[in-house]
C-alpha cells in the first residue's frame, strides 16, 4: 500500500506541475537562462557562477537553494531550474511509460488471446509476427527504429507525426515489447482451451464471443493486471535509456532520461542534476514493481486450505 501512495504522490505532483509552476519557478524551465539572476538571502546572485576552483575557467550553476519557489534544487548548465524540469520531465516520462504500456498490453492481449483461442492461421500469423519482433534484440530494435523515425517524424499515407512528438517513442516502445506480454497470454489461453469447462461450454453450443467474454477473459484478466504496472516500469526505464542516448524525447521537451543526460557534464561539479532524476526513476519504477508483486500475490489462486504435503 505504501507503494500505491508513493505512485499517487509522484503522479499527481508531476501531472499538476503546470498548474503550480509559477509557484515553483519564476523562470520558464525550458528556456535557457544563462545570464539570469535570483535573489538569495537578500543578495542578487548569478545563476551560473564563475568557477573559483580549479583553473578558474567556465561556469558552474548554483546548487540547491532549498527555497521552495526559487531554484529549489539549483540550476543546470543552461541556467534552468532543475526542480521544475524534474516535474515537467516527470510528466513526459510517466506519460510515455503509461501510454506505451496501455498500447502494448492492449495489443498483446488481443493478439495473444486471438492466437491462442482461434488457433490455425490466426495463430500462425500472430506467432510469426511475435517471433520476428522478438528475434531482434529489444534495445537494438528500439534504437534502430528511433534513429530512423525520430529525426524526421513519420510521413506515410495519412499518418503524419511530427518530429519530436512524444507519440513516436510511445509507439516504438510499445511495439518492441508486444511479444513479451503476448506470448505468455497466448500460452495461458492455450492451456485454458484444454480444460474441461471450456470444452463443456463449446459442447453446449455457446458462441465464441460468449466464451471469450465469460470464460477466457476472467481467467486471463489477472495476468494482464499483474503485467500492467510491470510494463509501465519497464517502459519508463526503456524510455529513459533512449532519451539518455538522445533518441527518445527530443529537446526542447524534457524527460527524466534527458535530464540525466544533461547532468552528465556536470556530474562532478553539480551532481544533483544527474542524480535526482535517476532517483525519481528508481522510486517510481520500484513502487510500480512492488505494486505488480502485490497484485500477483493477491491473485494467487492456490487455496490456503490444505497445507503442502
Amino acid at each position: 500500500m505504501l507503494a500505491f501512495g508513493v505512485i499517487v504522490f509522484i503522479v499527481t505532483a508531476c501531472l499538476l506541475a503546470p498548474v503550480y509552476a509559477h509557484v515553483i519557478a519564476h523562470e520558464n524551465p525550458f528556456a535557457s537562462n544563462i545570464t539570469g539572476t535570483i535573489r538569495l538571502n537578500g543578495k542578487t546572485v548569478n545563476v551560473l557562477q564563475a568557477n573559483t576552483q580549479g583553473l578558474g575557467f567556465g561556469v558552474t550553476p548554483i546548487g540547491p537553494t532549498w527555497h521552495f519557489s526559487n531554484y529549489f534544487l539549483g540550476a543546470d548548465n543552461q541556467g534552468r531550474d532543475v526542480f521544475a524540469r524534474l516535474l515537467y520531465g516527470g510528466r513526459s516520462s510517466l506519460y510515455i511509460g503509461a501510454s506505451s504500456a496501455v498500447i502494448c498490453v492492449a495489443v498483446a492481449a488481443i493478439a495473444g488471446v486471438a492466437a491462442g483461442y482461434f488457433g490455425g492461421a490466426v495463430d500462425w500469423i500472430v506467432s510469426r509476427i511475435f517471433d520476428i519482433i522478438w528475434a531482434f534484440p529489444v534495445y537494438l530494435l528500439a534504437i534502430s527504429l528511433s534513429v530512423i523515425l525520430e529525426t524526421n517524424g513519420i510521413n506515410f499515407l495519412f499518418i503524419h507525426i511530427e518530429q519530436g512528438s512524444l507519440t513516436i517513442p510511445i509507439l516504438i516502445i510499445a511495439s518492441v515489447f508486444i511479444p513479451y506480454v503476448g506470448r505468455p497470454l497466448r500460452g495461458i489461453v492455450l492451456s485454458l482451451k484444454e480444460r474441461e469447462f471450456i470444452q463443456a461450454a463449446i459442447g453446449s453450443g455457446a458462441s465464441d464471443l460468449h466464451i471469450l467474454r465469460k470464460e477466457i477473459l476472467p481467467n486471463v484478466a489477472p495476468t494482464i493486471i499483474v503485467f500492467f504496472p510491470l510494463m509501465v516500469a519497464f517502459n519508463m526505464l526503456t524510455e529513459s535509456a533512449l532519451s539518455f542516448l538522445g533518441i527518445g524525447v527530443q529537446a526542447p521537451q524534457a524527460s527524466w532520461g534527458t535530464i540525466i543526460n544533461d547532468g552528465l557534464g556536470l556530474l562532478y561539479t553539480r551532481p544533483v542534476v544527474g542524480i535526482m532524476p535517476g532517483l525519481m526513476i528508481v522510486l517510481t519504477a520500484g513502487a510500480l514493481n512492488v505494486l505488480g508483486d502485490g497484485f500477483r500475490d493477491a491473485f494467487d489462486p492456490k487455496a490456503k486450505l490444505r497445507g503442502s504435503i
Binding site: 528475434a135 534495445y139 506515410f156 533518441i247
Partner: protein, 322 residues
C-alpha cells in the same frame, strides 16, 4: 543430442537472415524516409546524397539493394562511414568486440554466482528476515536505470571518495587482457559490479520463486521420503530443476544485455566496446556505423541464444527428444 544441436543452429541461421532483412528494411525501406539522405548524414550536399544513392544502388530494386548491402557489410567489408569519411566500419567493430565480450563475460559470471547464491539462501530461509531483504534488493535492482547507476558509481569512486577509499582505482578506460591482466581486471571491476548488480537482483528473485515452487513438487516429496537430507534435496533436486527455467530466462536476457545495459555501461565507463561505438554513431546519426553495429550485435545475440538453448537441453533431458 548432436541432431538437436545441428537443428538449433540451423534455425539460428534462419533467424539471422530474418534479422538482416529486418535491419535492412528499417534503415533503408521505412516509408516516408529517404535512406540516401540518412547515410550521407545530416549536413550533406545534394551531390553527395546522389553519390550515396548510386554507391548503394538505391535506385535498383529492393532485393538487389539488400544483397548489395550485405555484400558491403560481410563479404567486402568495406562499408565506410560518411561522417568520418573513409573510416571502415567493420574493422572498427571487430576491434571493439573483445571489450564488449570482456565486460559481458565477467559480469555474467559475477551475477550468476551472486544471483544463485541469493536465491538459494532466500528460499531456504523463507519467511525469516533475510528472505524479504534479498527480495527487496532484487526489486531495487530491477528499478534502477543501468547508466544512472554507472554514473553514481563513477561519481563516488572517481570523485567523492576517490582520495579516501578508492585511490587504487584507475581512471575509467580500457586495458587489453593480453597487455596487462591485472590492469585489465581493475579497469573492469566496477563496470562488472554495476552490470552484475542489476541482473543479480532479478535472478535471485526468479530463482527464489522457482525454488519455492519446486519444493512443493511431488518429486521433492519422494526425495524426502527416501530419507535424504534437506540440504541435499534443496541443492541436488530442487535447485537442479529450477536452474532449467533460469537458463531459459538467461537466454532471453542476453539480448537485452548486450544491446542495452552493456551498451550503456560502456558509455558511462568509457570502455571502447561495440556499445560505445554505437553510442557515438548515434550522436552523429552515422547510419552505416549504426547499421553495422546493430547487425553484428544482433548476430552475437542470436548465436548466444542458440548456445543457451543447447545448454538448456543439456540440463533438461526431456527436451532432447524434440
Amino acid at each position: 543430442m548432436l541432431r538437436f544441436i545441428l537443428r538449433r543452429f540451423a534455425s539460428a541461421v534462419v533467424v539471422l537472415f530474418t534479422i538482416s532483412v529486418m535491419v535492412y528494411l528499417i534503415f533503408f525501406a521505412t516509408p516516408g524516409v529517404d535512406p540516401a539522405a540518412r547515410i550521407a548524414g545530416r549536413s550533406a550536399s545534394p551531390a553527395i546524397v546522389e553519390q550515396v544513392r548510386i554507391a548503394f544502388g538505391l535506385n535498383r530494386p529492393l532485393p538487389i539493394r539488400y544483397l548489395l548491402m550485405m555484400d558491403h557489410l560481410f563479404i567486402k567489408r568495406d562499408l565506410t562511414s560518411y561522417v568520418n569519411i573513409g573510416d571502415k566500419v567493420v574493422p572498427q567493430i571487430l576491434a571493439a568486440a573483445p571489450v564488449t565480450l570482456s565486460l559481458v563475460a565477467g559480469a555474467v559470471v559475477i551475477w550468476l554466482i551472486v544471483g544463485i547464491f541469493g536465491g538459494v539462501i532466500a528460499a531456504a530461509n523463507k519467511g525469516k528476515f533475510i528472505d524479504p531483504l534479498i527480495m527487496f534488493l532484487g526489486i531495487a535492482a530491477v528499478s534502477v536505470p543501468a547508466y544512472w547507476l554507472g554514473e553514481v558509481v563513477n561519481l563516488i569512486t572517481q570523485n567523492q571518495l576517490h582520495s579516501t577509499v578508492f585511490p587504487w582505482l584507475p581512471a575509467p578506460g580500457w586495458v587489453p587482457l593480453t597487455q596487462n591482466p591485472g590492469e585489465w581486471a581493475l579497469h573492469l571491476l566496477f563496470p562488472w559490479l554495476t552490470l552484475a548488480a542489476l541482473y543479480a537482483g532479478i535472478y535471485a528473485r526468479v530463482l527464489r520463486a522457482e525454488l519455492v515452487n519446486a519444493l512443493n513438487e511431488d518429486y521433492v516429496r519422494t526425495a524426502r521420503a527416501k530419507g535424504l537430507s534437506e540440504r541435499r534435496i534443496l541443492l541436488r533436486h530442487a535447485l537442479r530443476c529450477s536452474l532449467i527455467s533460469i537458463t531459459s530466462l538467461f537466454g532471453l536476457d542476453v539480448g537485452a544485455l548486450v544491446g542495452g545495459a552493456a551498451l550503456l555501461t560502456e558509455v558511462v565507463f568509457g570502455l571502447p566496446g561495440v556499445g560505445l561505438l554505437t553510442y557515438n554513431a548515434l550522436e552523429n546519426l552515422d547510419l552505416p556505423v549504426i547499421m553495422g553495429t546493430v547487425m553484428y550485435g544482433a548476430f552475437f545475440i542470436v548465436l548466444a541464444s542458440a548456445v543457451v538453448d543447447v545448454v538448456y537441453a543439456l540440463l533438461d533431458p526431456r527436451v532432447r527428444i524434440v
